[in-house]
Amino acid sequence: MPLDQVSRRRVLQGTAALTLAGTLPLQRAFAKDTVVGFIYVGSRDDYGYNQAHAVGAAALKKLPEIKVIEEEKVPETDAVEKTMESMINLDGATLLFPTSFGYYSPHMVKLANKYPKLRFEHCGGLWGDKDPKNAGSYFGYIDEAQYISGIVAGHMTKSGKLGFVAAKPIPQVLRNINAFAMGARLGNPKATLQVIFTGDWSMPVKEAEATNSLIAQGVDVLTCHVDGPKTVVENASRRGAMVCGYHVNQATLAPNAYLTGAEWNWEELYPRFVKMVVAGESIPNFYRGGLKEGLVKVSPYGRMVSEAARKQADDVKAKLMAGGYAIFQGPLVDNKGKTVIASGTARGQTDPELEKMDYLVEGVIGATS
């Protein structure tokens, strides 16, 4: 009991002290424990998008003089503004990671303007020149990892039919679908990829239905782009199909069906960011990268993955790591027969045209609208 009393009192004192520290120059605030706040839109053990960030946050907890505070299931409304302010005012957070795409505008931008001495880092790659300088937005080219997953899937499919359970036909998702399909066709030129859109980021019932219907059509390797791939991975493996994961490693959910997967590598990026801040350097406002820059990674191959698949996947991965290899290069035809990238044109990862992707490539069965 007395211990608790003390801790409460200390929390109060701490709050007062930190509030004071917030008004001092930034370096002073960082001299003591730096409080880093993480905000997740879903549950942090969702085996998906949010867990990937929580794993990154957990990596920060190991650093000295860093205190990590976390809040989950915060909607993309003024609730996230209040959560950020609460972390700032009540916990003394000086570096915030609102990790969901929809937190950026207007919420995080508003707070970054209101607290110009604090640092805000958003996941989504949205920062533009007009946005506050103390705000940043980072993102990974995870389609590179999807491409490698696709190669493995192309080699491992027996029916030649692959399946993709996707949330919405937006550029980011289409880019993953296309990269996976193109990778698969490197492994098996006759492979087709059937896509089902569920309409939203977290629709477990529809995701399960989509998985079942794909398997019923003869699909034997599945992957997905939804917030929590757990439903797809578990359901597919239970029905005897193989899976490629997304966001984090889901091998523990389906040890006998998990081929490989496209994962975020936030556990490497976040310590890198925090070290930059502690050293007084500034994090680039717009920060992007793929396999080479260590922002994304590929899950270790499952036991069942064949030698040929491993070899081709590793070869292509080595090329991507070396740089200069473009996944999206012409001639590229969409699934309606229209040429979307002309022969001789290579669209590298940083090409802004790829951010506007609105097509599905040849070999994908499905429509964007």
Binding site: D4, S7, R8, V11, S43, I69, E70, E71, E72, K73, V74, P75, E76, T77, D78, A79, K82, T83, E85, S86, M87, N89, L90, D91, F101, G102, P106, G124, K168, I170, P171, Q172, G199, D200, E355, K356, S369
Partner: protein
């Protein structure tokens, strides 16, 4: 007599307060089972919800939409109807308000804001009036129809936002175009709380006057008590149902308009976060009394505001706040059986 009336009113304060206190006690036991100190819990809940001006603003901001969406359930409840589709009216209200702002880009902001409010209320009002007319003309259960209308509203919203109304630059987050910074209604001066709170309080007071101090409200309550008797004495039951449902939906539609004009600045899927559903909880806890809705919404806003602190300081999962809401809901509903018993004992004393 005066004392009796006082004790009658007092029990409306005393019983819910005791019920909430009991809920907090039960929640304390629940938290203790997870190895956390319940005293810490109460301290952090107080600190997060009401411990400072910042916390108060956090609480009131969260309470603002709940007052309006709770009215969407509380008003039809006077007629004995259980409408649980406030979420749908909120979404339709937001869409209508956004559309209104987008068709008049050059108009002065005040005019745009007033038009948005009218459009939002009309949209939400018609949406719930639809459930009311299905009930009145076709005998369709309004609880089911209003709930299903939420799904339809969400589908319409997604369709418009991802299709005809989509801002082509909203690549990875399909949204309508922004209504423009000049058209935003901003915050109550000196605070971070948006105008939705004032709109909600005014709407709640108007609803209270309508229900308890007008002929319309009296007729509605008669119809709610016994619809056959109401018909026999010649009350226009159909009109009462449609107008009440329209007003109910208008309140939730206004909440949608405020979310667009004060928070998001545009319509997208972010609006569907369940304010309409939490509003049902608020209305039931307030026993459908419009004035009681205000403190209940603030209480639930406070629980929401302190939820973050509980996660951060005690490491409790987000679901723990839902557990507390559930406990409060059950104890308050169970405490209904206590009404009248206190009055009986008070009468004996006089």
């Amino acid at each position: 007599m005066a004392l009796e009336r006082f004790s009658g009113a007092a029990e409306y304060v005393l019983i819910p307060t005791l019920a909430v206190a009991l809920s907090l006690f039960l929640f304390g036991i629940f938290v203790a089972l997870f190895g956390k100190n319940p005293l810490d819990l109460y301290f952090y809940m107080y600190q997060g919800a009401f411990g400072s001006w910042f916390s108060w603003q956090n609480t009131l901001t969260r309470a603002a939409p709940l007052i309006l969406t709770a009215l969407c359930t509380a008003l039809p409840a006077q007629l004995g109807m259980v409408i649980i589709g406030g979420e749908g009216a909120l979404l339709v209200g937001a869409l209508s308000a956004t559309a209104a702002a987008l068709v008049m880009p050059a108009a002065p902001p005040v005019l745009v804001q007033i038009t948005m409010a009218i459009a939002g209320m009309a949209g939400g009002g018609l949406w719930i009036a639809l459930a009311g007319s299905l009930r009145h003309y076709r005998g369709v259960n309004e609880t089911i129809s209003s709930l299903l209308l939420v799904s339809i509203a969400l589908a319409v919203l997604n369709h418009l936002v991802e299709g005809p109304m989509r801002d082509p630059t909203s690549l990875n987050k399909p949204s309508t175009a922004a209504i423009g910074a000049a058209n935003m209604i901003g915050s109550i001066p000196g605070t971070d709380i948006h105008w939705g709170l004032i709109f909600g309080i005014v709407a709640a007071i108007l609803a209270y006057i309508l229900i308890y101090h007008t002929v319309f409200g009296f007729a509605a309550r008669i119809a709610g008590g016994n619809i056959r008797a109401a018909k026999i004495v010649g009350l226009p039951v159909g009109r009462l149902i449609l107008i009440t449902c329209f007003l109910a939906g208008a309140a939730a539609g206004l909440a949608g308009m405020v979310e667009v004009a004060a928070v998001q600045g545009r319509t997208n899927a972010n609006l569907a976060v369940g304010y309409g559903f939490t509003g049902i909880l608020v209305a039931f806890l307030a026993r459908h009394n419009p004035l009681a809705i205000i403190p209940v919404a603030i209480l639930l806003g406070g629980i929401g505001a302190s939820g973050g602190l509980l996660q951060r300081r005690l490491g409790l999962p987000d679901a723990s706040v839902l557990v507390l809401q559930g406990i409060i809901f059950v104890t308050v509903l169970a405490s209904d059986s206590l009404y009248g018993r206190f009055r009986f004992s008070a009468r004996k004393e006089t």
